[in-house]
């Protein structure tokens, strides 16, 4: 358990953010890195932007000051890569909603399961916390 208080060194505290398996906590560092990636995604809340995006995805991305890697990750719908590059799922949701994907289907693409397998896991109570909580601690 982390203290997360003023008594703990802030650098030690931030280092603990990378200890949860399969999880990229949306830290300030990620929010800075992904600022324009997330801005692009949020632009798809406007219907006229959705139309332009659907008409020519690559051209639409050229309007945004994103890295080539971020653009490629979006075009490939590689959401784990997008998370690595500073994306946040709340905002990336605008991209997969445009694709007509439900949250559950889009989320399943980040796991090692097919959508039917993932949906089945959720119906059976979700992914267990056992063994999925700490890399360092091995629990």
């Amino acid at each position: 358990m982390t203290a997360g208080t003023a008594t703990q060194n802030i650098h030690d505290y931030l280092a603990e953010f990378d200890d949860i398996p399969g999880t990229r906590v949306f830290t300030a560092a990620r929010a800075r890195k992904g600022y324009w990636l997330n801005q692009f995604a949020m632009s798809l809340m406007k219907p006229e932007n959705r139309e332009r995006w659907k008409a020519d995805e690559r051209k639409y991305l050229d309007d945004w000051p994103m890295s080539a890697e971020q653009k490629d990750a979006i075009l490939a719908r590689d959401y784990n890569k997008c998370l690595d590059l500073g994306g946040n799922v709340y905002f990336l949701a605008k991209v997969f909603s445009c694709d007509g994907l439900s949250f559950a289907e889009a989320v399943s693409t980040m796991t090692d399961m097919t959508f039917p397998e993932y949906r089945d896991m959720m119906l059976k109570g979700g992914r267990t916390p056992e063994g999925n909580r700490s890399i360092k601690g091995g629990y």
Partner: protein, 286 residues
């Protein structure tokens, strides 16, 4: 003096909004969740609150990464939803109670909670879905005025559970000193355990959720033993929305008892819950 009657705590998964729009409340997938609101409907019909103070987290509709307050209080005469990109009809607008908003703001800042104040504020699904769940089938407007209080649960650093509870308690002090005969209900939205990102997506933790549900009424301080990062570990990246529940519980004060609870896995990727708590004042009113 204003009376605080109770608290409604509920998940706000966007898919619930889609289910409402499509009228799927009796569908086998959805019924176990929507049925959790039947006791809430009865209670609200008995108690008839005038005002709802709503603790929630915006998902980018009003507060995005360009300007992201840790705590923000709405002080608008009316709150509108807007297109969130889901392809759904907009949720109904809701009247505000700007007088109470400013009384809360004055009290919070006097108590050293230096909140952002918002005379215009769009409300997203995390606030609209709980309103639609609590007061369905109403043509036109909701029968309450609202005060939205937004908590950053999106971009770390997040406030601690301890700070969220203290914020709620300061809001409680504000309601107690509000010179009005209005009846008040509080809402805490979001959660419970869920994770929407990364290889660990689909994470759920019924044991931690039960701990929260069991302690919220009678021992809310128990929920502050974990840091916000601990809660991400326990409840998932987005399970941290429990901060909204903790703050809302703080706003209720002491002498709180459980009226009903519903816990259902899954709604989309989420362990969904609805909890209704009431105060001594509600028992007197009933």
């Amino acid at each position: 003096m204003a009376q605080i009657l109770g608290g409604v705590f509920t998940s706000h998964v966007p898919a619930i909004g889609a289910a409402i729009a499509k009228g799927l409340q009796q569908d086998p997938y959805w019924k176990p969740f929507f049925d959790g609101f039947l006791p809430v409907h009865d209670w609200l019909a008995d108690q008839r609150p005038d005002v709802a103070i709503m603790f929630y987290n915006d998902h980018g509709l009003n507060f995005f990464l360009d300007k992201l307050p840790t705590f923000a209080v709405g002080a608008a005469p009316i709150y509108q939803n807007a297109d969130e990109g889901w392809g759904l009809p907009l949720f109904r607008p809701c009247q505000g109670d700007a007088e109470l908003s400013w009384h809360i703001i004055e009290t919070l800042v006097a108590n050293e909670f230096d909140v952002t104040t918002c005379q215009e504020l769009l409300i997203d699904h995390s606030l609209s879905i709980p309103l639609e769940l609590a007061w369905p089938d109403q043509q036109g407007s909701f029968p309450v005025r609202i005060v939205p209080i937004a908590i950053n649960t999106v971009q770390h650093p997040l406030p601690s559970p301890k700070r969220a509870l203290a914020l709620g308690r300061a809001v409680h002090a504000a309601i107690e000193s509000w010179q009005s005969d209005a009846k008040v209900v509080v809402f805490g939205t979001g959660g419970l355990s869920h994770q929407l990102d990364g290889e660990r997506a689909g994470h759920m933790n019924p044991d931690y959720d039960k701990f929260c549900l069991d302690n919220l009424a009678t021992n809310p301080d128990a929920l502050t033993q974990h840091s916000s990062l601990d809660i991400v570990d326990l409840a998932g990246s987005q399970g941290i929305e429990i901060l909204n529940w903790i703050a809302a519980r703080g706003a209720m004060g002491d002498g709180v008892q459980e009226v009903s609870r519903n816990y259902h896995i899954p709604i989309s990727n989420t362990a969904a819950a609805t909890l209704l708590l009431q105060t001594e004042a509600a028992k007197v009113m009933a």
